[in-house]
């Protein structure tokens, strides 16, 4: 009897040991996937002259989203689970190259949806092709207003995309005008009257500068705009012009991205143009990546910058987890475009699940229009689309298929080497973290 129980015990142990690997698979990869995978095209810049840093961060976020979605049984359509697969394409920041990659996505890779796009010029050049081919697309970073404004109406000389009744393009990054209004509102609240805008010569920089210029001028302020080429390293001759003015401007606003913005901000600080007692420095959202910022702009203390995305103190669990993983990989704070890229894939996957299809573009678009998801940047929904096509009077055209709630704040460093997680949120007032709307050099909260 005893021998028998020992034998049974041994058999049980052996059986458990033998089944353990299978049980691990079931626990870890606890679902069966269909043979076919859902392919998502991720269009990002991975070579110069594109913003390679942005592209790498977005690629990382896509892969992270794919891993998370697949770990959660992928995309369930009917009674089948489909593995998500990301196909990365390098736009090089060039519209022509972006179009070629999108055509490859459609014809060779046969992707079911597309996301990404860092540069507005690439977004504007590819959105027509994507729409014509019925590819549901969620852009995660281009800011140009026209990306969403062309959904329903002729805008800026371009015909509307949804002439056939379905527009396949969505955007979850803010439109330039949404950012511009926050920056301008804050600066006007600070009482500035004489503004210098330095803008990059791109489909991001020029419309953004035009929008801010119009807002400033409507408020009676004087604006001088200087356009620069992306990739310029030496700005001293241009900055000497500002220094030679009879009176220092109240603010220098930088609408330039990537390492070019770092060079510009640092040279401006080195020459003593801004930030100073007289002149506010407003640089761009790249400053939020504090490790890079301080390494490249060591004199940039007291510069302010616009930040897209929820403020660090309000990070959700998803955002905290994503930020930790990003920090482990890149030793820096996660930028908004990486968070948006992560979220974009979830929105597409959710849309496909609810539509019950991965290939019917119109059905997926209809499902995405009714998105209601809490992700790393907050709650996603699209207020205006075919489900609610009538934009009220005064609502800008870019609100079509546009996530209406990207949080845009103004932040400011007030200690050299400070982490952006500790930097002061200075505007809007409701988000202020240090009880101040601006600190002049030398002041502390």
């Amino acid at each position: 009897m005893k021998n028998r129980s020992v034998t049974l015990t041994l058999i049980l142990v052996v059986a458990i040991l033998a089944l353990m690997p299978f049980s691990v698979i079931r626990a870890d990869g606890h679902c069966e996937f269909a043979d076919e995978a859902i392919k998502i095209g991720g269009l990002v810049p991975l070579s110069a002259p594109g913003s390679v840093g942005g592209g790498v961060a977005m690629s990382w976020a896509f892969n992270r989203a794919v891993d998370d979605i697949n770990a959660d049984c992928g995309v369930q359509i009917g009674d089948q689970n489909y593995r998500l697969q990301i196909v990365i394409g390098d736009s090089e920041g060039s519209p022509e190259r972006g179009q070629a990659v999108v055509e490859r996505f459609i014809l060779e890779d046969e992707v079911h949806a597309v996301s990404g796009v860092y540069h507005s010029a690439v977004g504007l050049a590819t959105m027509g092709i994507l729409d014509e081919n019925g590819v549901p697309t969620v852009f995660s970073e281009p800011w140009n207003d026209n990306v969403s404004a062309n959904g329903i109406m002729e805008y800026d000389g371009r015909p509307p995309r949804n002439a056939d009744g379905v527009d396949h393009i969505f955007r979850i990054s803010p439109a330039s005008s949404m950012v511009g209004s926050v920056v301008v509102d804050w600066l006007l609240a600070e009482g500035v009257e004489d503004i210098v805008i330095i803008a990059e010569n791109t489909d991001y920089g020029q419309p953004a500068a035009a929008d801010e210029l119009a807002r400033f001028e409507a408020a009676g302020a004087t604006v001088t705009q200087i356009n620069v080429e992306l990739g310029t390293e030496d700005f001293v001759p241009i900055l000497s012009r500002i220094q030679a003015r009879e009176s220092a401007p109240d603010v220098v606003r930088i609408l330039v991205t990537g390492e070019t913005s770092f060079n510009l901000t640092q040279q401006m600080a080195e020459l003593g143009i801004a930030p100073t007692e007289d002149t506010i420095c407003v640089t761009n959202q790249f400053a939020f990546q504090s490790e890079q910022y301080w390494e490249n702009v060591p004199d940039g203390n007291y510069c302010t910058f616009n930040r897209v995305g929820i403020i660090p103190s309000l990070f959700s669990d998803i955002a905290i987890g994503l930020n930790e993983a990003y920090f482990e990989e890149f030793e820096d704070i996660i930028p908004s475009f990486a968070m948006a890229s992560y979220d974009a894939l979830h929105i597409i996957a959710d849309g496909m699940e609810r539509a019950g299809t991965m290939s019917d573009g119109a059905a997926i678009v209809e499902a995405i229009e009714s998105t209601d998801l809490d992700l790393s940047q907050g709650r996603y929904y699209f207020e205006y689309g075919n489900h609610n096509p009538d934009l009220p009077e005064g609502t800008p055209a870019f609100m079509w298929h546009q996530w209406p709630d990207p949080v845009v704040t103004m932040m400011q460093y007030f200690e050299p080497g400070q982490s952006s997680l500790d930097a002061a949120v200075i505007f809007p007032e409701v988000y202020q973290t240090h009880g101040t709307g601006y600190m002049a050099p030398g002041e502390s909260p």
Partner: protein, 515 residues
């Protein structure tokens, strides 16, 4: 337009050239009553006449005519300065553009330049005179002083020295400045009284950055002069030099910090020799492995091979660096803890103050490094046996081999040295610019312009070319009436100079003729 300004422009356009013509005619007569040994060169007298007439009208001509001992290089240079200064001071008061005078300057200058460039060299060849640099001088002179250039060069066919080029070039620049001043009276580069400070500021910006550009270009010109090939990996060697410095400083500081238990930082100056040594070895290894077969006659299409193999080397370096260092911009600490040097504002007269002039501290330091390294290279090339060997190889490989110089070793040395100079340039600039793996692209394009401008193969030419490119870019970006266009066309301004030099002096400013 106020009447005084009209008269002044008339004086400049009519009386200036008129008195210059009088001077041109009168002053050569000074030799008539002199013994042969006391006679002054006719060319010198003609130039003195033209400059004296242009600068001070009858006073200038009279001064030189009655006091010929005043005819010296310094007085002629002073005459040019007076001309430019006086005319610019008055022209800035012009309140409306004067179309006829602008047309005269814009149309007549190029017209006379074209005529002079066409006819005068033919005249030289017809009388079998030395026609070196005549085309350039004729074109410059036609632009600067219109038909008067025929008076200077047609009959006497003088030998064209560097002084000719400098004087005619200065006058041409003055013409352009005059047109600009008439059309843009409020421009920072023109509007008194601040324009002197502003021009000095922009020129200083240009000199500082230009000297830094030169260091990189010198490497390119060294490789070309010895090997006869253009290295298309030069931008990437510049970039990787910066990264070697960056990683040396980072790991070195970490190592020393761990060793001493306190936080240690290393001055970026130490990164320069480290980058130099590593890239020297890289360059030598690449040359031995991939370029030597070309010189050994193992490659059929040598030119194409050199382009492709150096291109490939550049791509390999760039993408390897991207894989290792990543795409995010990096930068080292400062050379010196002085953010900027400032020459404070000084009140010279009641109406005129000079300053302030600001130059970023690290740039001044990098400029000094660049100039020291270029002079060290010049010393090496001129005063050491190996340097002379390099020069000899660049002139005639077979003759050098007969003299006991090993051309193979010289080829390797030239490529390694050229690469090393690019790397040192990168290591000197990583404290100044945000560094990314594609940072060399913009810089290398400028280097090609500099070496062709200075003369392919000429080290002093690269230095002067770099400074000219720096100044032209700074003045172009700083003086263009539209700040946005000035910023956007910054590199194009240097390309205009580049195109003009190619047109007028294809060998570059210091290049030697190929026979």
């Amino acid at each position: 337009m106020v009447i005084e300004d009209t008269l002044f422009i008339l004086w400049l356009m009519v009386a200036g050239p008129l008195w210059a013509a009088v001077g041109l005619y009168l002053l050569p007569n000074l030799n008539h009553n002199r013994s042969e040994k006391d006679q002054l060169p006719v060319t010198q007298l003609q130039i003195a006449g033209v400059i004296g007439g242009f600068a001070l009208g009858p006073i200038g001509v009279g001064l030189f005519y009655f006091e010929p001992h005043l005819i010296r290089r310094t007085t002629i240079a002073a005459g040019i300065i007076v001309t430019v200064f006086v005319s610019s001071q008055v022209l800035v008061r012009v309140v409306e553009p004067n179309l006829p005078s602008v047309l005269w300057l814009v149309l007549a200058g190029p017209l006379w330049a074209a005529l002079a460039a066409y006819f005068i060299p033919r005249q030289y060849r017809m009388v079998e005179a030395d026609d070196q640099n005549v085309l350039t001088a004729a074109a410059l002179g036609g632009f600067a002083i219109g038909p008067l250039i025929f008076g200077l060069m047609w009959k006497h066919t003088p030998k064209i020295s560097r002084d000719w080029m400098i004087i005619l070039g200065s006058l041409g620049a003055w013409q352009i400045y005059t047109v600009f001043a008439i059309n843009n009276p409020d421009n920072l580069c023109v509007a008194a009284p601040f324009h002197v400070t502003y021009l000095t500021q922009q020129t200083a910006n240009g000199v500082v950055i230009g000297a830094i550009y030169s260091l990189m270009a010198v490497g390119l010109t060294l490789i070309y002069s010895v090997q006869g090939i253009v290295s298309f990996a030069h931008g990437q060697l510049y970039m990787v030099g910066g990264y070697f410095s960056f990683y040396f400083l980072m790991f070195g500081a970490n190592f020393l910090s761990d060793l001493t238990g306190t936080e240690v930082t290393i001055n970026p100056l130490w990164g320069i020799p480290v980058a130099a040594v590593i890239v020297f070895v890289m360059g030598a290894a690449f040359e031995r492995a991939f370029l030597k077969p070309m010189h050994d006659g193992l490659i059929e299409r040598v030119s194409e091979y050199a382009i492709l193999i150096t291109f490939g080397f550049g791509f390999f370096i760039e993408y390897t660096t991207l894989a290792i260092a990543g795409p995010f911009p990096q930068r080292t600490g400062r050379f010196i803890e002085i953010r900027r040097f400032t020459l404070q504002r000084t009140q010279i007269t009641d109406d005129f103050a000079f300053g302030p002039i600001n130059i970023i501290g690290d740039r001044v330091f990098a400029m000094i490094i660049g100039i020291v390294l270029i002079f060290a290279l010049l010393y090496f090339l001129q005063r050491t046996w190996t340097g002379r060997g390099l020069r000899a190889t660049s002139q005639d490989k077979q003759a050098a081999a007969v003299a006991g110089i090993n051309p193979t070793n010289m080829n390797t040395l030239s490529f390694a040295l050229g690469s090393m100079l690019a790397a040192m340039s990168g290591a000197a600039l990583i404290p100044i610019f945000a560094w990314v793996p594609w940072v060399g692209a913009e810089m290398v394009g400028r280097s090609y312009v500099i070496v062709v401008l200075g003369g392919l193969g000429s080290v002093p030419g690269a230095l002067v070319g770099g400074i000219i490119v720096g100044i032209v870019e700074a003045l172009g970006a700083g003086c263009h009436p539209d700040p946005s266009k000035g910023a956007a066309y910054k590199e194009a301004f240097a390309l205009v100079i580049f195109a003009l030099v190619l047109l007028l002096k294809p060998t570059g400013l210091f290049g030697r003729e190929q026979h």
